[in-house]
Amino acid sequence: MNSRDRTPPEKELKVGFGSLIETRTFEVPAGDAPPWDATTKLSVVGSDADRADGRDKASGRAKYTHDIAFPGMLQAAILRAPIARGLLQNLDLEKARSMPGVAAVIALKEVGKRVRFVGDEIAAVAAPTLDLCRDALEAIVAEYAQEGHTVDFLFADGAPVLDEQGDITDPWPDAGEELTAAFAKAKTTVTGTYRTEVQTHASMESHGAVAKWTDADLDVYMSTQATFGVRGELSQAMRAAGLQCKSVTIHAEFVGGGFGSKFTAGAEGRAVALLAHAANAPVKLVLNRFEEHTCTGNRPAALMQFRAAVDEQGAIIAWDQRSWGGCGHNGQGGGIAIPDHLLAKAARRRERAHQDLATDADPARPMRAPAHPQGFFGAELCIDELAAAAGIDPLALRKQNDAQPLRLQQYELGAERFGWEQARAAAAEAKQDQHARYLRGVGCASARWGNLGNDGRGRGDGPGHGAVCRIHQDGSVEARSGAQDVGTGFKSVLTNLTAEELGIRAEQVRATAGHTTDPSGPAAGGSTTTASLAPVIRHAAFLCKQELAKKAAEHLGVAADSIVFAAGRLSAGDTSMSFGDACKLIGPNPIEMRGERFPNYKGKVFERGVCGAQFAEVEVDTWTGIVRVLRMLAIQDCGIVVAQKPAESQVLGAMIQGIGFALHEQRILDRQSGRMLNGDFLRYKVPGALDVPPMEVIMQSVANGHSNCSAAGLGEAPTCASAAAIANAVFHAIGHPVRRLPITPDKVLAALHQRGGK
């Protein structure tokens, strides 16, 4: 009988955080590790243990895809379309194929098929050197029937008309009786048009793979967010190409970021596998930075219009919105998400008023908290405008309208830690000097995401997610998962949970991730990995612990269930032995257990997702329009914090990405050619060290009660708030909203001009 088939006993757990802790009842599946709750004392989990792979990364021992090499390995490159729209009329590969040293040349697009953006994949070559690959690409003859194109979504079919200020002039569609009535009784109403630009993922490690065939078995070393997903994808792709493919094994031991762009093997992943087969040799294909910017997806642009209203008491009673997504050629994925938790009292439009607009450009892909940073920027700025118009402090307006108790605490804590009132007052006082060159402003915004993980079974009865724990006779411990660590710190999740359960130090556990020969796990997306796999990692260690306890019990002459694992020892009453000595009892074969991911517990969890709040202070140079972020604070929960340092790092990374989204990043396509004009890190500016201010992160460890360790997803949530908080701070500083990202000097100077004209 599977342990899942047993009747789950009910168990009372203390859930929540701080003063919000309360007792709730959950069905805990039989066989699971005893669940932790808000009262559990933990020593490794939540500690400041170093990142598990920190030394490997800092020392250069970590091997990324680019570092993989095999004897006889070839390099590869892709020929890309120079036109934004048209048909491939002719493709002649023969001259390239006949070049000395060129090992393989393949078509990636058939003659007669459509070209959809500058950079569309046409053909690929493999040769011993990249120089020879480039020469071979030049020898390929590709001819196109070019057609007219549109790369600016504001000129696409279905785009609304904007006035000179960039505001939507089309009348609002009928709002219905309820919403119309709510606006009619409002004290204050604001309406604004907000806009964000295309942001590329800009992962430090570009897309790439090394493919190696052994007969009909394919090994791929790939920078991917989805080891098991791309295994299945490439298996189908190879069979569709007519190749015999008995197995595909993916290796992604180290990944330098993905942010949503690396769920698919991509054209380059398929190409490298086909080239390796054609050349009968290992082949490496790593995209350069221009290809990375232009051909691997992005966060789509957004055009949003909001109108919002408060009543006399400061309740947000009406909210209306419509939006357009500036997508690539597929015309999908451009939706927006807004902070609904602030609008619990508001009448809303019943129908979704959103339209995605297609352009002749690289299609969007999911990007860290898809839809949220765009929508949160616009909506949170609109809420600050509403607060200003109504004469209400914007933080007070949020506290009055936010429906989530945990975030209300976060607002309080943030206001105190950031010195909200003092900083706002000081900024306001400084503005009294009408000749002041530098103005300061303080803003805040909220964050949310909802992922408590899953068991990986869907509605089937399969084994679900897995993880393996091994304890060896020499005292070494392994924790293994086939899921990938994309840089988020998943290996620390493996080490910390295993060490906690076994009562040892995190450094004693060797974590391995990213090989599909190990038990399966989800793709790293939607803040899923830790939430889904932490319980199974802990369960694997729990099962190993029970086995080791049996051996130690025999040696110590005590009952196995009386043994406690803590501080590197196994203790029962007055007797004890070291963990290392206990391991000597194991014998030559390790204790190896595969953990089980039980379904999330039935019961009322504390939160269905995670909450956050962020604060930013900026300085605006009114002569140049340059905005400098002076400091930021984030308060964030992610369930019980499993790995403190990587968790803080995740939030810091989100804040830095938010600075880029707010102030710098913008894909610029030439309307004439359709080509990206800033496809590098010189002209596509991500924040550098001098752009990043002092930033503080306060992680709140919250027991949700949904699994044995209450871990929740973290990757997305902090991304929601950062740009919004900065935009609100700029609004506070200059007294006029900059409703279009990035907030570049020209827009600031225009806003100052508009403010002055009032």
């Binding site: 792709a237 995605d356 869907g458």
Partner: protein
């Protein structure tokens, strides 16, 4: 939404979706996650084909759950 019923990605997925059509919830095992914004189709609007590894199917048309169903020339699932 006009009612309070929680809708999941699975609810929005056509019954005979081509098995070569991929989207993020399939990879994250998030098909039973609740969708909150009134969207009509599963996932976050990003779809691709396992055979081409791009958002264009073998027939040179876009990948989308409304299209990747029986009747499309490259459909690879069991006929209903």
């Amino acid at each position: 939404m006009s009612n309070n019923k929680e809708v999941t990605h699975r609810d929005l997925t056509p019954k005979h979706l081509c098995p070569a059509m991929l989207m993020k919830p399939l990879l994250t095992h998030g098909m039973d996650d609740v969708v909150r914004d009134g969207r009509q189709w599963p996932g976050d609007g990003h779809y691709w084909c396992a055979k081409t590894c791009t958002c264009i199917g073998p027939d040179d048309a876009h990948v989308h759950p409304k299209d990747c169903q029986p009747g499309r020339s490259c459909y690879d699932g069991p006929e209903p």
